[in-house]
Symmetry: C2
């Protein structure tokens, strides 16, 4: 469906909600009164089932059953069990995903693995605009390994050309955190493989936002985030995917006891577990894992194709409304218009992006700002309505028309933006 | 105080509780009915304040304030704020501790740092009986660095001799997880420094169990666990201590964005934060951190000297009762008797240790088993009573006298022991 009505009206937009097959999901989330939440790509909203699930775990599993819950409540198996659930959202097979640690730590594991699998090659290719922590982790690993590798940063349009027979690994975020640009996972993976390179996909802005098919792309490694589109709660544990064919050849360097073949034999010598479990390291934060599992269980009841369709339609609607209502205020669309080239967000550039975003937040429209000049709006189809697009742009237009953003209070930078 | 009464009676033991200055703390914990919990050294009990604190955080900080809570609820500062609180429990200075990741991951950071600070030296000294994950992480790092280093494992009595001018770092758990043996932190650290080596102390079985004074010991690095004596909940995040003098010289290899000088500038190049913050890596599991902070806040209201006194007295009582009531059943005391040589646990060896422990657990006396033959009983003075020692040994004696442990159900090994 494309939107052909012009000019758009709130009535028309409300009719889209009335026909939306995902509309009932909104009631499964805690959506605060007076807030239009366009930042679920930074921190997903709270599923209504989560507080009770967690309260039960705290009082009964921890409080009453205590240490026995490692066996009886399935805590020990959680990283694998939850990994298998997330596998279903990203086109992976059972036994190819575990949930553990942070995205950053997981990147370190798979990048070390990729370099070990491609020992003769010294170049890691990525983008200067990749999410910084991925670049930082690569720098840390390269430094640790004695600076024998090079991190080569090239812009998206030059990527294909940059991959050659020196390339050990390509490290890309599927959907760019700042611009919303989406890479062609199938084409890049195939191109890299043809040149003997391995690919690490960061799915931080993809998992739960759209169908992803790692198996169909013949992907090597992937990592991803639990607290964005998966709604796992602040700082929720991350996941790591390793294609089954790459699991046996080596063990990753963060070789903690939870990745050991027999952790409770307490042997002094590390012996990696078979399969994806060797990508575990230490003991995982169970309470945060339970919140994530509660959210993933909800996500598994939704249809990712419908999520994707609604996400694209919301973004189109948002852009058209901005063009219709905010023209002449210097906003520039950064996100590509082609559906296949974008994720589930819209980014607008404006020299006064920071105070404009603060003014929006003060009026209950929560997006975020990404330095140096990006206003970022994320679309989470399970708990957003089409009318939220209308109302958000209504407030944005008002802020621009009245210059409500032009206040010292909105220009003072917070620690976290 | 030493216990001179013989034979001991339950009345005498109950009188110890009546005079116990820490007795009121028990009411601050959820202690399940019918359970004598001697496994707080594996998973600490639930503080009563934690469920409400966490429920409030979930509903209001996450649910209602959403992403804004990174600033307004102090989520962003939590690793440092909570680190400064834990610093007070281990004799560290403000700015020397952060809470993040797992003990295993933190060991990797500080071991990499120690090797970088001692570049000409190739030996890492530890014990074969150190907690395995510490040994496993060292093996992973050594392998990653191309096997130029050697992990030399020597028994406690040979440690001093093993430290020489080839030693880069010594890596020890202050209190042994299995035997309860406690190292002399001051003497070993001084001896290592005299030979130009650095020391990493794992405080997993010390923090919250006894006074620890890293500053007085002139310690270099330490790591520790949030879910044992600190009562932070299953898999709670861990902490890492780096003496201020060692912070500026290098940055650790797990260089994620939370350790960057300006994470929200989103620069492509890693530039470590000043001070201990550079030991952060990715985004932390906020819900699990909040549970830990709630527990640490409670711990800070207790007196660690009183905790240590009660812990030693409970252990003495337990051992005397075992000797009085369980003689002739082949139990052998593993933990040293000298107070300065032990932590907050008592370990007994028995060839049928596994089924005996399962029989105890079935009767509500929860300790744990450590392969190959150790029954482990941990003492947590904030929520245990002296009469619990009496009642636990009463049940143990009955199990031994009736051979109640000799059943197939008790011999079947669980995944987590």
């Amino acid at each position: 469906m494309t939107i052909n009505v012009s000019p758009l009206t709130r009535e028309f937009v409300a009719a889209l909600d009335a026909a939306d097959p995902l509309a009932p999901f909104r009631d499964q989330f805690h959506v605060p009164e007076g807030v239009i939440y366009l930042d679920g790509n930074s921190l997903g909203a709270l599923p209504k089932a989560t507080p009770d699930r967690l309260a039960q775990a705290i009082r009964h599993e921890w409080g009453s059953a205590l240490v026995r819950s490692w066996n009886t409540a399935g805590w020990y198996d959680m990283p694998r069990r939850l990994g298998d659930k997330i596998a279903r959202l990203i086109g992976a097979q059972p036994g190819e995903v575990v949930v553990a640690d942070s995205t950053s730590v997981n990147l370190f594991k798979v990048l070390a693995a990729a370099l070990k699998l491609n020992p003769g090659r010294r170049v890691i290719v990525s983008e200067p605009d990749n999410f910084p922590t991925d670049l930082y982790m690569a720098q840390g690993l390269i430094d640790l390994l004695g600076n024998q590798h090079e991190l080569k940063l090239v812009r998206a349009e030059a990527l294909v050309e940059a991959i050659n027979d020196e390339t050990a690994a390509i490290m890309l975020t599927h959907v760019n955190y700042r611009t919303g640009y989406r890479h062609d996972m199938v084409a890049i993976t195939a191109h890299a493989h043809a040149r003997g390179a391995l690919v690490i996909w960061d799915l931080a802005h993809s998992a739960g936002a759209m169908p992803v098919d790692l198996s169909a792309a013949n992907a090597d490694f992937a990592i991803g985030c639990g607290y964005k589109y998966l709604n796992g709660g602040p700082g929720a544990p991350a996941f790591v995917y390793v294609a089954q064919r790459h699991q046996a050849g080596f063990s990753q360097p963060l070789s903690g006891w939870m990745g050991h073949a027999q952790p409770f034999e307490f042997d002094w010598k590390y012996r990696p577990a078979e399969g994806i479990a060797r990508y575990l390291c230490g003991t995982q934060p169970v309470l945060s894992m339970i919140a994530l599992e509660s959210a993933v269980d909800l996500m598994l009841t939704a249809n990712l194709v419908e999520i994707r369709e609604k996400s694209l339609r919301m973004a189109d609607l948002f852009v058209r409304l901005v063009e219709q209502r905010c023209a002449g205020h210097g906003l520039e669309l950064v996100t590509p218009r082609e559906p296949e080239k974008r994720g589930s967000q819209v980014c607008l550039r404006h020299p006064e992006g920071y105070p404009i975003m603060q003014a929006l937040i003060a009026r209950g429209v929560i997006g975020d700002f990404r330095a140096p000049d990006i206003l970022r709006f994320g679309f989470t189809p399970l708990y957003l309505r089409y009318v939220d697009m209308w109302d958000a742009v209504d407030i944005l237009a008002d802020i621009l028309n009245t210059r409500a953003w032009d206040q010292p209070a909105f220009k003072q930078r917070a620690k976290v933006t």
